[in-house]
């Protein structure tokens, strides 16, 4: 039984937390995540969940408390944005290195300086190599669905890894959309009882987390850790398949939109994909063969599958909602380029930076990109590889 509701993205994810009822949540408020944990705190204080909510003095402490609770043997969640994620930096690597299945929605927001509370992807992109699995979400429905699946993915005994669920600050977190809730029982039985691995509170079987590992073993430990990520894609697909059975909604590594017969294409993450699909429909009506790829599983990045889905194109634009300062390209662009680099036939690539600090991404921007791609496909010439779009001169 599903229930159709009109809720914000944060409200939807808070409801997923209520349905899953983690043992422990430790969190610190930060815009635009605040509303999520505020709503979840109401569920705790109203007695709707038995979760132990730990209110801490910083995000560094929030994730540290989560690491302790997860090592102790509990199902654990937190949430953050922007500077909060930046402050968690060193603990992100520890949570992943300990293989603790913590689930953390990241409500995407720009990084300082200058300080800004609105959407871009520089926060989660900065954490992309920390060892957390990243699922990205176009809308509130996907944020809700990804949050439920995240617990199953994280807790899979083959991988046991922390998961971030990324969705756009304000655009999705604070806008009211129509979404379908699964009923509580369905979610509870889908996620299932928590099975701890090496719980510290199992005092009859003493164990140690976090030993000092030096030159004689560290290299092997990191190799073993790296190998673990090879198992993630199958787990993500297996969980998606089971989720489809309870929801009717299909998930995979990415969404391909009108891509199969396309000659030019756009790769874009999260909410801006919706706008882009509308503009693609307009161009399709005029006979322009344009398509879109929207990654969902961004870490680990499905290089082979994405490369295969894009290699037939003549021209491709990767739109990044995060710049890479220091003269590099957008983080999404770099991965797309890597996914295509070994094919002899591949599209010409350009990278466009859009929407930083919540700057609106308008249909005209998508149209301009499509026009440029049509020109590149026709002439085989790339003018400028990386540019900002929607920026005042």
């Amino acid at each position: 039984m599903t229930k159709v509701v009109a809720v914000t993205g944060n409200e939807a994810v808070a409801n997923a937390f209520r349905q899953i009822e983690p043992d422990v949540c430790a969190a610190y408020p930060i815009t635009p995540q605040t509303e999520l944990m505020q709503r979840f705190a109401s569920f705790v204080s109203n007695g709707q969940v038995k979760t132990e909510l730990i209110l801490v003095e910083s995000e560094h402490s929030a994730l540290s408390a989560c690491v302790g609770a997860a090592a102790a043997g509990g199902r654990v969640a937190t949430a953050t944005s922007s500077q909060g994620l930046a402050l968690m930096w060193e603990i992100l690597f520890i949570a992943a290195g300990f293989r603790l299945p913590i689930v953390m929605p990241v409500v995407n927001r720009a990084l300082s300086a200058p300080i800004n509370i609105h959407c871009d992807h520089s926060d989660a992109m900065g954490a992309r190599d920390s060892g957390w699995i990243q699922l990205w979400s176009e809308n509130a429905q996907e944020a809700y669905d990804n949050t439920i699946q995240a617990f199953r993915i994280a807790e899979d005994m083959d991988i046991r890894l922390p998961v971030m669920v990324c969705y756009d600050g304000f655009i999705i977190s604070h806008s009211i959309e129509r979404i379908e809730y699964l009923d509580d029982e369905t979610v509870k039985s889908f996620v299932g009882d928590y099975k701890p691995l090496f719980p510290l509170l199992d005092v009859d079987n003493p164990k140690s987390f976090g030993p000092l590992i030096l030159t004689d073993l560290y290299h092997e430990v990191r190799k073993a850790h790296s190998e673990t990520y090879k198992k993630v894609p199958q787990v993500v697909l297996r969980v998606a398949e089971e989720f489809e059975k309870i929801s009717g909604r299909k998930y995979g590594f990415f969404e391909a939109y009108r891509l199969e017969d396309a000659e030019i294409g756009i790769v874009i993450l999260n909410s801006a994909a919706g706008t882009t699909k509308d503009v693609i429909d307009e161009y399709r009506q005029r006979g322009v063969k344009v398509g879109l790829l929207k990654p969902r599983l961004f870490r680990p990045f499905p290089y082979e599958e994405i490369g295969n889905a894009l290699k037939h194109l003549k021209a491709l634009c990767v739109l990044d909602r995060a710049d890479a300062f220091g003269g590099s390209y957008g983080p999404l662009y770099l991965d797309i380029a890597a996914s295509l680099c070994n094919y002899s036939q591949k599209p010409l690539l350009i990278n466009r930076i859009y929407g930083l600090g919540g700057r609106d991404y308008m249909p005209e921007q998508a149209a301009k990109v499509i026009e440029e791609l049509m020109e590149i496909a026709k002439t085989g010439k790339v003018g400028s590889l990386k540019e900002y779009i929607g920026v005042r001169e």
Partner: protein, 96 residues
């Protein structure tokens, strides 16, 4: 040494007391603790505070130091209450 295929998830150590395999006494530099038995009231605070395994206890009584596990940190000497103002543990210079 084990290869990468035998690394446990999260490098969690599942064997209790495995620190006994690592003899840290070689880290000791300038000072080592000395036990003065006549000043000892066998309160075992030194055993409790020792961050390694250098204080040996038998039948509830304190025994000699095991210098294989003593890094010379001096915590035992600081915590020792002694008897009538006389410490049962003092730090003395390492004899080279």
């Amino acid at each position: 040494m084990i290869g990468w295929k035998d690394i446990p998830p999260g490098m969690v150590i599942l064997e209790a007391g495995s620190a006994m395999k690592i003899k840290t006494g070689s880290w000791r530099a300038a000072y080592r603790p000395k036990w003065i038995e006549e000043n000892c009231i066998h309160c075992l605070l030194c055993w409790l505070y020792c961050p390694d395994n250098s204080v040996k206890v038998k039948d509830g009584k304190r025994g000699e130091f095991d210098y294989d596990y003593c890094k010379g940190c001096g915590i035992c000497a600081v915590e020792c209450p002694g008897k009538k103002g006389n410490k049962a543990i003092v730090m003395e210079e390492e004899v080279k």
